[in-house]
Subunit: 115 residues, 4 copies
């Protein structure tokens, strides 16, 4: 439960950082990064909301959504990493994605051991 | 490309049907169905938006998001199916989910053959 | 009720057109248009969802949300209009916004006469 | 700018509290509250995202969106207040809405004085 809480907070942070990174990218002509961050923000928001709805809990659904969120988080972090030297918002977004992928990975392994 | 278009339209239909089904469920005290449909609406909206952003296209990310959306679609359809006899909105939502899962499954197999 | 249905469909169309316009803008370096269309897509989606939840209906809330959506629609259409000659996606998004503002304006006047 | 930051955080808090309140309401058969909180979560998320996109800033649009968000916040708080005695999640959601309305009201008056 504490781990779920950590995941929600990590998703919330990513959702904010990616929305702001996307906006800044738009103003700076970094199209791919802007579009990936827009996807990232939507995926993180949806994953967070799913975690906030225990009434609708389905283990298989949550697991596959977390897998999608982690895949997206790795791709978004990789894209942001290429601009992290020169762009503060990319560096912040990258770090938020990395942190989310890590905590979500931990939760995934806990979920698979506790059946 | 035509298949992607079909997927987007199927996601849009699910997103609407699930939002309306969730609202009706809330008024009728069907908690689990309401919460699963709320999740379904968010997942379908996010998947649709990802498909509508070719600039941010990443094959691995899209595949994992489609997997999550299909898993959610199957779970939501299964839940709605249990009320489909007595509840029109559940029957409609179930059919929209089934149709989305089918067309998305076709797109997945096309994506895996054309590398 | 038929008018509400028309509004939902207009919001859905705007939500799609604006998401696609934003993505294309990102790839073409049109930052302001991309960010306004991203806002437009979120506002149209939220307005549509509110209309799809009669259980949570509140006349004052819906009226103020429709006002925000129309204000956003006019601003987004104005921005897209400046690129409409050269950019197909802006022309399509502009038309969808114009149509939504029109049908929503009609619904607003119906709502104010039928108290 | 510090005030904008406060507004974003207040929107984020409301978006989370309202999502969790809606889910709990669904499980407890409180339909109206569930649907209003679902609307509140969407409106708060959209308002927060708009604030996070300075590239797409439009004063008139932001003002009307904040007005809609405050109207929604007052209605949601009023609904949650009726269950606040017996329901912890309603009390938390009500307080988050009240806090958001207050800080957003302050920002609105700042925006109208500084032209």
């Amino acid at each position: 439960m504490a781990m779920m809480q950590e995941c929600m907070e990590a998703c919330s942070a990513v959702s904010m950082c990616a929305t702001m990174c996307a906006d800044a990218d738009m103003g700076e002509g970094m199209g791919t990064c802007a579009a990936m961050c827009s996807n990232m923000a939507d995926v993180a928001t949806t994953t967070m909301r799913m975690m906030m709805r225990p009434t609708g809990y389905d283990r298989g659904v949550l697991t596959s959504m977390m897998t999608a969120c982690m895949t997206m988080g790795e791709a978004c972090a990789a894209e942001c990493r290429t601009h992290a030297e020169m762009s503060e918002h990319c560096r912040i977004c990258m770090m938020a994605c990395d942190a989310m992928v890590e905590v979500m990975g931990k939760m995934m392994s806990t979920m698979s051991t506790t059946s």
